[in-house]
């Protein structure tokens, strides 16, 4: 099925002045479309975590968001260093964020588990040296 419309966003590396802008824009669109507030909330959480990961770990990246009648698919991709051990990265509390990131309130090792808990579907593809792709699907109905 073709998407109704799609949005693309650039996610700049290490630039916290715009970190979260892509997620905020998607949240606004979902609200305008009249999507149920709890679904908007879960989408915001999942997408924000993926976006912040791209900012912090991925040297920035891109977000591609496709809106369908019954779902939204979000792909956050980066060409950063990739994840060596995905299973370990998925463990709540595990983080490789440096101190300067932790001092801002990130790096608690909750990002990926927040995505898992809040997304309806979540696929993480990553390989060292080949970047990371986070696929999130949210069902709207």
């Amino acid at each position: 099925m073709n998407s109704l419309f799609r949005k693309e966003y650039e996610i700049p590396a290490n630039d916290f002045s715009v970190a979260g802008e892509a997620s905020s824009s998607v949240r606004k669109l979902l609200n305008q479309l009249g999507v149920d507030p709890p679904i908007v909330k879960r989408t915001s959480i999942a997408m924000y975590e993926a976006e912040i990961n791209a900012v912090i770990h991925g040297n920035g990246g891109k977000a591609l968001v496709q809106f369908f009648e019954d779902k939204v698919t979000i792909l956050i991709s980066d060409e950063g260093p990739g994840i060596e051990d995905i299973e370990l990265a998925m463990q709540e509390g595990y983080s490789t964020a440096p101190d300067r990131i932790r001092e801002m309130g990130f790096g608690a090792g909750m990002g990926l588990s927040n995505i898992k808990k809040n997304a309806d579907e979540f696929v993480l593809e990553s390989e060292p040296g080949k970047g990371t792709r986070v696929h999130i699907t949210m069902y709207l109905l």
């Binding site: 002045s17 801002m104 309130g105 990130f106 809040n118």
Partner: protein, 115 residues
């Protein structure tokens, strides 16, 4: 209780979007400094208390639809955070009190509804 009422009653300073505080209702309080937890824990209309003053708190408040962010213990707020708050329509409030004192004040002054 609105953000303006709560701030005025306690002598707190509103440092961004003060003009919208008169209409912004507070529904409950959430206290947390881990942004991933706040993303999940801050509910619509919550007054969110955090000691962080970096620019990322604005995105979190915006995405969670917090009624305002209250910075406790007169911690100075970076000017780029205030600027971003103005841009995004987020009300920032500065308080001399601790997080505990702020939440107790809200509890008592809002009539003791723990929700």
């Amino acid at each position: 209780m609105t953000v303006l009422e709560f701030s005025q009653q306690n002598g707190y300073t509103i440092i961004s979007c003060a003009e919208t505080a008169v209409d912004r209702e507070i529904s409950g309080v959430y206290i947390c400094d881990l942004l991933s937890m706040a993303m999940v824990g801050v509910k619509d209309g919550n007054l969110w208390i955090t000691v962080h003053t970096n620019i990322n708190i604005i995105a979190v408040a915006s995405l969670t639809n917090a009624s305002c962010i209250v910075i406790p213990e007169d911690i100075p707020v970076e000017s780029q955070t205030v600027k971003k708050a103005e841009e995004k329509g987020i009300i920032l409030v500065q308080s001399p009190h601790t997080s505990y004192e702020i939440s107790v004040r809200y509890y008592v002054q809002s009539g003791g509804d723990p929700s």
